[in-house]
Symmetry: C2
Subunit: 614 residues, 2 copies
């Protein structure tokens, strides 16, 4: 064990640097930092195995700072370790510094962005699960949570997951500093309640004085000795700890301490033996060699006959199985929907690479993000499309985390029928389009679904694949190629009067409409949008021009943020096109799929009417 | 107490009707229904006070069926009570019946839609809080949850809330039937773990045999006698209970039992004394008279001087206080952000009508929805705009619930500055626009913010008000009137070359650009979007035409689903306009607000460049 005085000195040095850097930035959360000074000092310089040379070393221990607003003290710890000069800390929160207000993976010391509270533990759980089951390495995972964020349900989803999967390589550290942003937290210093909750969620739980280095060291030793269950460390601390006149006082959240700094630092330094501990050594991770992920391909091309009727959700399961056959880093996660999303096909083929996350979609996404960090796995995540809305904040943070996850949402739109609106994804495209750097695919048949999954596996980022409940006819040959940003023409003549753009069920409605209209001598061009984001600007504009600049979009989605608005954005920037939008308006209801398509104006019948109008 | 045999007969009759109605629909979840047959029978015919004549009677007890897929048995209970003929149950899930696959308030027996799991308890908590603190009535609130959904974090957010506010008028009933959709639940029949968890979250907890009428009756009596804390009733049950060959078996989720029905019903009826209990009486609620909500007005008009600099988030707090002064049914809820969102102004003025929900946004929305049911209150909910993404699924379900809630999201866009992307709302407009029947207001000054709040209070539905962190200049006189679907021209001449549409900070950037351009002899028209949804189609098109059909939208939001796409949708349907969109592209970062506006291309400088390009 490392010398207690050194660790205490480091803790105080971290206090000083947190005060100074937030003062330099004239914003930030120094009091949130100082309550965790001791535990961070022990973690960095006594407990964890980390590498200055390779902060993202595959075998090093992981730390997730779920209370992301304490970023300055985390940065300070790396500076004290010698990763960069301490002066750089004074660039905190400046535009040209990567030391952002909350941690992001722009820094190679960060695996996942935090700052939206209550999300870190799920990511940590994903890392711990990966250590045990995919990496089969003995690195450990630590997550520091605030007490305020313990009110977030996502924390308890993660706790349940950790219990179920016996993640004894994970330690959840609750920094119970009593004060939230606008007042005391709801449990304040009632560590007994935290203890009861953690134990009820299956954690070996240790309550300790969070400002006592020795107690923290002992707790980590106990955690390491605990097998078969995760450990929770409930630390009683004080917000603003060590800052005279501010410690444990309200109204000091998210404020630099300004001109109180000088005297406060003097008091802190008076307690230190060595006031400038620098290049303090960390324990080294084990050397390890790992393979790059490489290209991920379907082990066999799609094998459907044109006209064959098969649900795209079923093809998703087949694609997953084929991708998994060729690459053992492909994993799948689901939230008790595997027999509806067909991820169960993957589970049957590779039970060791399937993670059942039960009905907890926030944790589902968080775990997937964690599993995908440091390129350890390529996670495919499935549930009903509608239920990804449950994890919008996690997906939003995933974009900031540069997460590499593939989300497959089944049961989109009114075409699911009788289950009714609660189960219908009608805002999923809007949601996933709004995620920066995301790809959004909406395959209309089984062949293109398999290819969408293959494209998704090889894109380093967040991908959404929208699948459909009812069967649809196969329209593409196995040899057809697909790429992001490329739509497909599925019906075309030299005398097309209107360009109709659809996806999923509505593409098939458009084809049916085209057939009927053609019998009446009216030709329309039918485009399969396939890639909603990026969208095929050129293809849309060229084909619109060839169809008399008349465009209809028909989609099983609400008006806002879906295919229609994506297309109208392209058209508006170009100008000169007449546009109509058929989509679901208002809250739908239960009924037979065909009845609903008609009632909500997205069936072949409505398309025909709209074409005639134009 | 009611005769046990009658209650057992009713339970079995509910089983039979659930089997028959799902068979008639050829879809649905009979096995999910039958596990709760006894508790529903006891609730309806022994425990709750409900009214056939007025199902939404303000003083009657509330029941929230959080496990919404068990809808058929709830409908059956009302039929057995005599609300409608039992034959109507056979229209389950048909388009022309309001007996939808999952419950919605299209039926007057339903207060909140369910079907996305884990949401009901928050709504129930809102109702129980309302009973105690706003209605000051003694109705009780019951919520039936599935065991699978206990994995949802939202449940534990709600539990924490119930504990904190000592909601002893609420009973959470866990129907622990062991089986989820695609396999066993993660805790199966470990009722001891449910008990430990519920107790750790402050519930008086009773574990009972969920198929024993007497045990359930005793449990409800014990709940009623328990003061100062809520009660949890953990019922050990069997999925498919009473259905021979199906009870406690896997692979029977969400499937009608088809041709097994006849023999199964025979077995069930063989246990009944009276196989057709009809018009079974319920206990009556207390008579009560309540007042309608009426018109809600600011008690004083906005009182700002043109040019005064004030943050719209601050004006939100002022507006809340003014609305609260005139109507004691206006309430406010926040998630530990009240000193940032300025809802603390309301708290200071009316502490009894402010509900601190701590950092748990899903529960925040759920509680608000519950508080707003049966027109009991008009809830205003505030947090950072970004963190409403945490509750997208709750808000989505809110639309199906016909919820009457007003959401105010502060800290939108990159203009918040140094805190960085995790705290910036950049997809909030996309999210709230996609909610059916929502209104979305984006006030650019303090005066219009107050009016937006007043409009919101009087709209029966979901409203989003987007407020800004930095100060902006007041541009409207107190006498200015605002309405949904009406944008405002804030700068206009007869020689305008371009129409620039902005909102919030970007409106002020547009005004600055106009000033600079005008010095160079170029006039632009500047429109304050104010109402993003509904959007001012006519105003936009007329003014675009008067500005040479050139339109620029500049917004502090991502490209997708925001003002730009809303406007481009209008323009595309009209055709013939040249359109440019200035917005935030890619994940932003920490930095000073002005630096970020410039770096992400939404400052006056960029607007000027874009105008010159056009």
């Amino acid at each position: 064990m490392v010398d207690v005085q050194l660790l205490q000195d480091v803790a105080n040095r971290l206090r000083v640097l947190s005060i100074q850097s937030t003062n330099a930035a004239n914003s930030g959360h120094p009091t949130t930092c100082t309550s965790m000074a001791e535990v961070l000092s022990v973690l960095f310089f006594d407990e964890m195995h980390q590498s200055l040379a390779e902060p993202r070393c595959p075998s090093s221990d992981r730390l997730v700072l779920s209370k992301g607003h304490a970023a300055p003290i985390l940065y300070a710890a790396w500076a004290v370790a010698g990763l960069f000069p301490e002066e750089k800390l004074m660039d905190l929160r400046k535009y040209d510094s990567d030391l952002e207000g909350h941690p992001t993976p722009r820094l190679n010391i960060i695996d996942v962005a935090t700052g939206s509270l209550g999300q870190g533990l799920s990511c940590a759980a994903g890392m711990a699960y990966t250590a045990k089951h995919f990496d089969k390495m003995d690195y450990r995972v630590y997550c520091i949570l605030g007490d305020g964020e313990a009110a977030e349900g996502a924390v308890w989803e993660a706790m349940n997951f950790c219990q179920h999967y016996k993640l004894d390589n994970l330690v959840a550290i609750f920094d119970v500093n009593r004060l939230g942003q606008s007042g005391p937290t709801c449990l304040q210093h009632q560590t007994d309640i935290y203890k009861a909750r953690c134990e009820a969620f299956g954690f070996h739980t240790i309550v300790a004085d969070g400002h006592c280095v020795k107690a923290i060291q002992a707790a980590f030793a106990e955690a390491k000795a605990t097998k078969g269950k995760p450990t929770a460390l409930v630390l009683k601390t004080f917000k603003g700890s060590g800052i005279e006149g501010i410690e444990d006082k309200e109204n000091w959240h998210g404020k630099p301490i300004g001109d109180k700094a000088e005297s406060a630092i003097k008091v802190i330094e008076s307690k230190m033996k060595n006031t400038r501990p620098t290049n303090v050594p960390m324990k080294a991770p084990k050397p390890v060699t790992t393979e790059a992920l490489g290209l991920i391909k379907l082990n066999e091309p799609p094998a459907y006959s044109i006209g064959e009727k098969i649900a795209t959700r079923m093809a998703y399961g087949t694609a997953l199985e084929k991708l998994g056959a060729n690459n053992n880093r492909v994993i799948a996660l689901d939230a008790d929907m595997k027999n509806s999303t067909f991820s169960e096909k993957f589970k049957k083929a590779y039970p060791d690479r399937f993670v059942e996350c039960f009905i907890a979609e926030q944790n589902l996404i968080g775990v997937a993000i964690g599993c995908g960090t440091r390129q350890r796995t390529v996670p495919f995540v499935s549930t009903f499309g509608a239920f990804f809305t449950r994890a919008f904040d996690q997906i939003r943070m995933g974009a900031i985390s540069q997460a590499n996850i593939k989300c497959a949402g089944s049961h989109c739109g009114v075409s699911i029928g009788e289950d009714g609106p609660s189960q219908m994804a009608l805002e999923d495209i809007a949601m996933f389009r709004s995620i920066p750097n995301s790809l959004v695919f909406y395959p209309s048949d089984a062949t293109s679904t398999e290819r969408a999954c293959e494209l998704a596996a090889n894109y380093n980022g967040i991908v959404f694949i929208r699948t459909t409940r009812p069967v649809t006819a196969v329209i593409y040959d196995a040899s057809e190629t697909f790429k992001p940003g490329q739509s497909k023409l599925v019906r075309k003549s030299s005398s097309d009067k209107v360009l109709v753009i659809g996806g999923g069920v509505t593409l098939h409605e458009a084809l049916a409409a085209a057939e009927l209209l053609s019998a009446d001598g009216v030709n329309i061009r039918v485009m399969d949008i396939f890639s909603i984001k990026p969208i095929d600007k050129q293809g849309i504009l060229e084909n619109a021009a060839q169809c008399g600049n008349k465009v209809i979009v028909v989609e099983d989605h609400y008006e806002e943020g879906g295919i229609g608005e994506a297309v109208s954005h392209v058209l508006a920037e170009a100008g000169g096109v007449t546009f109509r939008h058929l989509c679901v308006r208002g809250v739908p209801r239960s009924g037979a799929p065909a009845v609903l398509l008609d009632a909500f104006g997205i069936s072949a019948k409505t398309i025909i009417r709209s074409v005639r109008d134009l």
